[in-house]
């Protein structure tokens, strides 16, 4: 994308009908470290790549628990992600206070999308609180969120975009080199609904592995979180992640000893990578 005269503020349309600032915000998401989400009928798993600014620093937190039944993984400007997580937590807690009941995931993502849209685009509706205004001093949120949660209608995975759009997914990946993960997930997503919790976690780790493109996968650079029907949203212990990675690698090494890797169903499924 190149500079042009229509990209100075978020309230200017280009002649082609695009809001460049919003598109640039989505670009920020693409530059962030990868995050993937997978959903089965009863569980949702989120996994992220932990990128540290330098060897001396620790990595930024990219997975946030929003409520017992909802969690998010972010990619992009993590500072914006933190602000939005605080907003989401507030919404959930306010709902629980009034109704003693968890906020349905779909209703949470709509509130988030409305918030993003109020900032990223023109407010076209004349609402009581927002008279049709053009707030040109605000910028869009530079973060994409994978919202994973459970409510009475089942397990859900949504992707909230800086543009204010949101979509429901069976599985999705965002951030840098997410295309590799997406390709991996596209091949397997049809069976996800029937996956057990552990199979789902394994595939999430695999998807993250795809985004690393040869870099060694250790538990130090991977954060994993799961939410399920009788399981509150929580991060999985690093030790357990390392155990899973090790068990996966053993299976991977075994067939590699023999002839060229044949794509078996289930156990390995690692795509041939060029290092």
């Amino acid at each position: 994308m190149f500079r042009n005269q229509y990209d100075t503020d978020v309230t200017t349309w280009s002649p082609a009908g695009r809001l460049f600032q919003v598109e640039y915000a989505m670009e920020a998401v693409k530059q962030g470290a990868a995050a993937v989400g997978l959903r089965s009928a009863s569980h949702v798993v989120l996994a992220t790549v932990n990128k540290a600014a330098s060897d001396l620093s620790s990595y930024q937190k990219k997975v946030f628990k929003i409520d017992d039944h909802i969690g998010v993984a972010i990619a992009g400007l993590t500072a914006d992600g933190r602000v939005l997580s605080r907003y989401l937590r507030n919404e959930c807690i306010n709902h629980a206070f009034v109704y003693e009941s968890p906020l349905p995931v779909s209703r949470l993502v709509v509130r988030l999308a409305d918030k993003a849209q109020r900032i990223s685009g023109l407010t076209l509706m004349i609402l009581q609180e927002q008279v049709c205004t053009q707030r040109s001093w605000k910028r869009p949120y530079g973060v994409g969120l994978l919202v994973a949660g459970l409510d009475e209608t089942g397990a859900h995975l949504y992707y909230n975009c800086p543009s204010g759009n949101y979509f429901e997914y069976q599985a999705f990946a965002i951030g840098s080199r997410s295309q590799a993960a997406k390709t991996f997930l596209e091949r397997r997503f049809e069976s996800f609904n029937n996956y057990s919790r552990d199979e789902l976690i394994k595939d999430a780790i695999f998807a993250i592995k795809e985004t690393l493109q040869g870099e060694k996968l250790t538990s130090a650079i991977c954060t994993l979180a799961v939410v399920g029907k009788d399981e509150a949203f929580h991060l999985i212990d690093q030790k357990i992640i390392q155990e899973l990675i090790d068990s996966m690698e053993i299976k991977e090494d075994a067939p590699a000893d023999q002839a060229p890797v044949t794509d078996e169903d289930g156990s390995t499924g690692a795509a041939p990578m060029d290092i």
């Binding site: 109704y99 349905p104 779909s106 009475e152």
Partner: protein, 237 residues
């Protein structure tokens, strides 16, 4: 013009006394769901002025609400709930507000009003069935709230609940529950001055809500003491 329409020197108008009131509501869980009963009377002080006031209403798909106390405040509450349910339905996303959510919402409303010294003069009974779970709770005008297997408002607390504590069981059939209910209603009819002999029974199960047509109970006033009420009082002063 009514002073209540103009906020004068900061003074607020608020309900200080109830005017048209309903008397007890009784609710209990039974095998298939929850059953409520209330009479259809609206008293204006000590006058039994209105005889066809429906004090039990269905709320959404899963709940029923019964109220005693100020009838106009009950109607206001119904308006709040109507808006709540409408917005819930507009989502059209498979999620719906159940009796637990309604109960808690009402608790918040009642407590908030109490804190502003402008209470809604009602005792509310909320019940329902959602996803096989039966729910029954009560909210008072000051925001006190609790759940139980059987609840009652007003005089019902003193006259009906002891009966329910003695005879209620988890697995009452609908007929048995109605019989128990009528036993309580009869006591209230005899002893509560603001009760009238015209009742509605409402039941809610997983399938839905049914509110009966008003009907009367058979009462017995043929006691010898009533034949000549002033016997013994002649010439006493």
């Amino acid at each position: 013009m009514e002073a209540s329409l103009i906020v004068d020197n900061g003074a607020t108008e608020r309900t200080l006394n109830p005017y048209v009131t309903g008397t007890s509501v009784i609710g209990m869980k039974y095998k298939d769901g929850v059953i409520f009963a209330a009479d259809t009377g609206g008293s204006y002080g000590s006058t039994l002025r209105y005889k066809s006031v429906e004090r039990i209403k269905p709320i959404g798909k899963h709940s029923i609400l019964g109220a005693s106390g100020e009838i106009s405040d009950f109607q206001e509450i119904l308006r709040y709930l109507d808006e709540l349910i409408l917005n819930d339905n507009m989502w059209d996303d498979g999620n719906s507000l159940g009796p637990k959510e309604i109960h808690n919402y009402l608790t918040r409303v009642m407590y908030n009003r109490r804190n502003k010294f402008d209470p809604l003069f009602n005792s509310l009974v909320v019940g329902g069935v959602k996803n096989g779970q039966k729910y029954l709770g009560m909210v008072s005008m000051i925001g006190t709230h609790f759940e139980d297997n059987h609840v009652a408002t007003g005089f019902g607390n003193h006259l009906a609940r002891p009966l329910l504590r003695a005879e209620w069981r988890e697995d009452l059939s609908f007929e048995e529950a109605v019989k128990l209910m009528e036993k309580c209603l009869l006591v209230l009819l005899y002893r509560d001055r603001s009760a009238i002999n015209k009742f509605q029974i409402a039941k809610i199960t997983e399938e839905g809500v049914t509110i009966s047509q008003p009907y009367a109970l058979k009462t017995n006033w043929g006691f010898s003491a009533f034949q000549n009420p002033s016997k013994g009082a002649e010439g006493s002063w």
